[in-house]
Each structure stands twice: as C-alpha cells, then as structure tokens.
Symmetry: C2
Subunit: 396 residues, 2 copies
C-alpha cells in the first residue's frame, strides 16, 4: 500500500470484513473465492475504478491477503485505491482484452496455478454481471476442472449489516440528496426540457455539500412523465414537460460509493383524483411498513404491512417486490441483491441493515413513487435516513 492511499475505511474494518467473509467461506467449504462483483471487490480491498468493463477480480484465500487481478493498466488503480501490497497486485497483458483469441480467464487460471491454488475448492460468483458464461467456461477449461462452486451472494450477505462508519457515509449521501430535492423544488417549471432538469439534478448531486462532494450513483436519474411513468426504468429525453402530467423522480445521493436513494413525485398542474388517492395510500402504507421494519421481524412482514394498506385503497402492485438492501454499489444496480422485501422472503431483520423501501406504483396510465431509505435500529421502528416531505410536489 502506498503512503498516500486515501482509504475510505481503516485497515481494521477491512480486516474484519475479510474475517467475516472467511467464516462464510469455511461454512461453505470454500478455500479460494474469486470475487468479480465490483462492490464486493471494493468492500474487501477499497478497489475503486471504472474498470469493470474488462475482466478483473479479487482472489480471497483463507489465510493470505487478497489478490487484485486485472488488466495491466488497471493495476495502477489497485496501487492507488487499495490496502494491498505489490505482491498482491497481479496484471494480465492488454492483448487479453476483448480479443476472441485470448480470454483473460486463461490468465487467471495460470495465476491460480502459480500460487498453488488451482487444486483448492474454488468458489465463484456465477450469477454476477461481471462473470459471464464464457468467462466461467474459459476458467473451467483452463483449470481442467468442472467443479467450481457457485457462491453468488456470499460476500453480498456479509454486507447486509452496516458498520457505524458505513452508516455515517450513507447519512452523508442522504444529506446530499436532501439538497438535491430542495434544488429541484426551486427550479422545476412547466415547459422546462426534461434533460435540463436532469442537468440540475446531477449538478447538485455531484456538488454535494461544502464538506462532502458527491459520487456517481450506480443508476442514473429515472424520471419518466405521464404515460412514460407507467414504465419503471425509463431515463429521460429532451421534450418540454407540459402541464397535466405527473413525473416520478428515482434518485440517490452517493458518497464514496455509498448510496441513499429516495423517490418523490411531482405534478405540473392539478393532480387527478386517482393520483391523490394513490399518494394518500402510499404515504399511509409507507408508515405502516416502516413501523414493522423492526429488528426481529421479517422482510415479508414489511411487504405485507405495505400491501394491506394499499389493498384498503384498492391498489395492487402486481406482485412486485417493495424494497432491497442498499449501501456500497457500482453500476448497473444500487441494490445488494440479497434480501427482497416480498411476501416469500422470511429473512429476519437485524439492527444496522439498510433498505430502499421502494413501493413504486406503475399503473395503467400513470406512475407514482414515494420511497425511503431506512435503517433497522436496535428497537422500535426503522429510522428514515433522509428527511424530505412525502407529498407529491405540485407546480402550476
């Protein structure tokens, strides 16, 4: 580790993360874990760069320090952002990049061989964006083994309960997003081009606070209007926003890769009765969900509390989950891909868990989002990390 690496957490915290991961590895009988999820890589080592578009990973064994393995030009990012020493940073040559003749996993197999790891019980994150079918096949062929073990989510599950320092980063991310919403309220006007609103949102999100600059969120702003708001994941266009339609804002504040998402909605003109009804339903249902989001209750309890209030208002979300854990993340998803707030998920909630409680409504002709980032506390209902009025903002 270089003298001037500015790690977001102390070495103790990385060591304790590694220890937790090793316990989980041992429980699954894994001796060597190949971590390709960039969020898991960062959580374990500090590695932080937009290099995940080429193959890379962190090799975790039961005793030695983790090894960063990646494209030659990206090893410099490992030197600049991780606590690893030179012996634990391993490059592959650039002609392995996007070249059908040489797959990077062939090189990884050589590294595992060279370090005496190729006969170990090896775990991989087989259902991750950054571990393709071809990568898996290439690694198996190169190792001459067909018994790699899928441990998708093993590290993600260790991230579910946040440390005090992580929660502090999420609070900062939340304070940034509070300023963004304040700014939105000041600049929206009918006739404004949608992209011009996004420019304001991104400017405020990255400016952050005087003390803390903003980082990029793992998902860009989603803010469809009117009929487009029936679709959950549209981004934006450059059409003027006209009166007579609603728009939802799906945004997150981000600080040092830690996210605090929160959605609000606005209407240009007078909202129709079905939107007013849905707003009342969502606000009441959110409170009901937050009230049961307590240590010892389950993910399902939260989903059921929400659904029963919405049902009272005649609203059915069609089986869509209503939340997921959040924290450290890289594109394309800011969720942690472990727990889901849905009736089938009986995971028990623990203090320090953080969720985006996200009951989006995407109806036949319109959509509405009012959501919260919540923290499970020692006792009592969950704490909302942000303080933003839940009402639909109305602009005339």
């Amino acid at each position: 580790m270089l003298q001037d690496v500015n790690l977001p957490f102390g070495l103790d915290e990385y060591r304790s993360r590694l220890a937790k991961t090793r316990v989980a590895m041992a429980e699954r009988g894994i001796e060597v874990l190949f971590v390709s999820d960039p969020s898991n890589m960062c959580w374990l080592t500090g590695y932080d760069a937009w290099s995940f578009y080429t193959f890379q990973g962190v090799i975790v064994s039961l005793e030695d320090d983790p090894i960063y393995w990646g494209r030659n030009m990206d090893t410099q990012a490992a030197r600049r952002t991780t606590w690893l020493d030179e012996d634990h940073i391993v490059p592959y040559p650039d002609n392995y990049v996007q070249n059908p003749e040489h797959h990077p996993m062939q090189h990884l197999a050589e590294v595992l061989n060279g370090r005496g790891m190729s006969n170990s019980r090896i775990g991989v994150e087989a259902d991750n964006y950054y571990y393709s079918a071809k990568a898996d096949q290439s690694l198996r062929t190169s190792l001459g083994r067909d018994d790699l073990i899928d441990v998708t989510g093993l590290v993600n599950w260790q991230r579910a309960v946040k440390s005090a320092h992580e929660i502090q980063y999420m609070r900062i991310a939340g304070s940034i997003l509070e300023l963004v919403y304040e700014h939105i309220g000041n600049v929206i006007r009918p006739g404004m081009r949608k992209n011009d609103l996004v420019a304001e949102i991104l400017h405020a999100s990255i400016t952050g606070t005087p003390e803390h600059g903003g980082d990029y969120a793992a998902i860009v702003p989603l803010l469809p209007t009117g009929a487009d708001a029936t679709a959950s994941h549209l981004t934006w266009n450059d059409a003027p926003m006209e009166k007579g339609a609603g728009t939802f804002l799906e945004l997150a504040g981000c600080f040092r890769r830690y996210h605090a998402p929160l959605c609000r909605s606005f209407f240009l003109g007078t909202p129709p009765p079905e939107v007013v009804n849905a707003e009342a339903a969502l606000v009441e249902a959110l409170s009901a969900g937050i009230d049961v989001a307590r240590s010892g209750n389950t993910a399902a309890d939260v989903a059921n509390a929400l659904a029963s209030v919405l049902a009272k208002y005649g609203i059915d979300r069609g089986g869509a989950r209503c939340g997921y854990p959040i924290g450290l993340s890289y594109p394309p998803d800011w969720g942690e891909r472990t727990i889901s707030l849905r009736p089938e998920d009986t995971t028990v909630l623990e203090p320090g868990m953080t969720f985006h409680f996200m009951p989006g409504l995407w109806m036949q002709d319109w959509g509405l989002e009012i959501t919260e980032t919540i923290l499970i506390t020692e006792s009592g209902p969950a704490e909302c990390l942000l303080d933003v009025d839940r009402s639909v903002m109305v602009f005339d």
Copy 2:
C-alpha cells in the same frame, strides 16, 4: 407499437438491421438468437431503459418479428420505446427477480418452448455482462440441452458500419462535447474541488445544445490528477486541484445513446518537460494514425503508425490497444467490443466505421490523454467528428 412511440430511427432502418443480423445468423447456422447486450437490444428494436440490472433480452428468429422478454414491470418500457407489437412483448413475474429459488432463464426456456423454438439451433452472447454463467447454466438445464452456440459479437459486428442517420446522431453528440470542453476552459481554476468540476461537466453534457438535449454516457467522467493519472480508470474525489499537477479528462458527448468520446488534458501551473514532450509526441502520432485510418487499410496499420511516431519520442505504451469502435452503447462500456486498434488486429477499415482513437499514456508518475472520435471516409484520411484544440490546457 403505440402511436406515440418516439423511435430514434425509422422502421426501414430497424428492418434493414434485422435483415443484416439474419444473414449473419444464417451464415453461422443460427435459427434463434438470444440477444442480452442492451446495446444490441436497442439497435434492433429501439428498447431503451435502465432495466439491464435484471435479466432481459430480445429473441431474434429468422422470420417472425423479434420478441422482447423481460421483467413484468419493464414490458411497459418495451411498449413505450420499441416498434414491437403486443404479441412480441413477453413478461416474466417479479418473483423471478434476484431470487435464488427461481431463475428468470427458467421462464425464458418456457417461452422458447411455447413458441416452438426450443429445438432450434440457438445462439447466445456468452461473453456479455448481462449473460452470467448462472444464466447460461439455468437456460441449458431448463431446455435440457447443452448445445447452445456462443455467438458473442454477432450483432455487434453488424453495428460496425454506421448509417448516415447514426453518424448524424454522433455528430450531435460531438457538438455537445465541444460545448462541454468550452465550458471546462471557462470554469477550471486552481483550488477547485474535483467534484465541482465534474458537476459542471455533467451539467453541460446533459444540457446539450438548444436543439438537442444530452443523454447519459455509458462511462462516467474519468479525470484523475497527478499520481492518480497513472491509473487509467479512476473517477473523481472531492479534493481541491492543486497547482503543479496534470489531469486528463476522459469524456463523451451522448445523444440518444450514441457516443462521441474525446479526451483532453490540462495542467495547473507549468507542465514539466516530459509532459511537454509527450504532448508533442501524441499530437504528431494522432495525426499519423488519422492519416492511415483510411478505407482499405487495417486496424493494425493505425496502431503501427501511432507506435512508430511515439517510439521516435521514446514512448512505449506497453502493448495497450489504442482504440475501439464506438456508437450506440449502455454501461459499463461505450466501446462496441469488436475491433481493437492493435498490431494483431488485421480488420480492414470500411467507410462509415467510427472509432475512438485513444492512445492514452499512463506513465510512471503522470498520465496524459489526447484522443479523437474518427469516421472512416470513402477516400482520404479519417474525419475527426469533433473540433477541439489538441493542446494541453494550461491554467495558472
């Protein structure tokens, strides 16, 4: 297709893309192609949403229209952004999302079965971010077949030569980035926090021009300073930019998902002799590369022309490729992942191909990037799509 879908291209263009793709499928003996690369999905159907963090795809057969298959809540994005009719939009239920009990690929197998496609010769994009090892295994198991054919890049290769309309979008993206660089020149000052510069960059990128609003680039701004600039893919922090260090700016303009990247560098204070030498080398080497980037020459010719000028100045890029095709893209990469400008790649250049000619220098103590987006023309050297002074910007 709904009446008010605002497709970026006419139906004729989509039909001609589909026809090209089918010729390539037939050449490979593929009857059914499962397309999971979001850029390929968009290129074929217009589909445009940030929904690629859950499994989705486009099923292309040799005769019937393509089928969008995705999470229930995202089928509405297919209705809002594609030319497909209702019979060609197929949802899977939300409890398949990030749930170890049900993989979406089990549902895809049912769809293929139901449409009489499960015994066809099926091609998949096995080396794509959005087609994980687990997805592949789940699809094989569910179909009871182990003979899926890897045709990674099949659609990407059809995208290499751009249509006039695509080039027009890239010119618009370029005109947006020209304004961004003009704005950067106006706002940089020593002591400015790095994130505040990024806020300005993103604001200008998304504001775009009075006629054309900006879209999000597939890669966020990369702009490391000083020793950090030895690493190619660092993003930013909130430290003030001090005098005595250089920073490179890796940025793209984006319009309706079409990219025009261009990198420039700046120095606060007086650049040291090695940076001045490298600047002269890069400017001369870029010209040499652009001059041989002609129809009929090869990708290797461009790489070799660049390298021989750099060698004259004593600069060795350590085998790193110096460019890649660009156009339509989604995160995490704005390249097309087909051709690489490197000595081993003998692909013949054709009119209408577009590249990010990208000879980044990441040296021992500093880094420098001066790059161009180029268009291969009918005759003569490549055309630069943007007009931005290549000099290192110096601020005192």
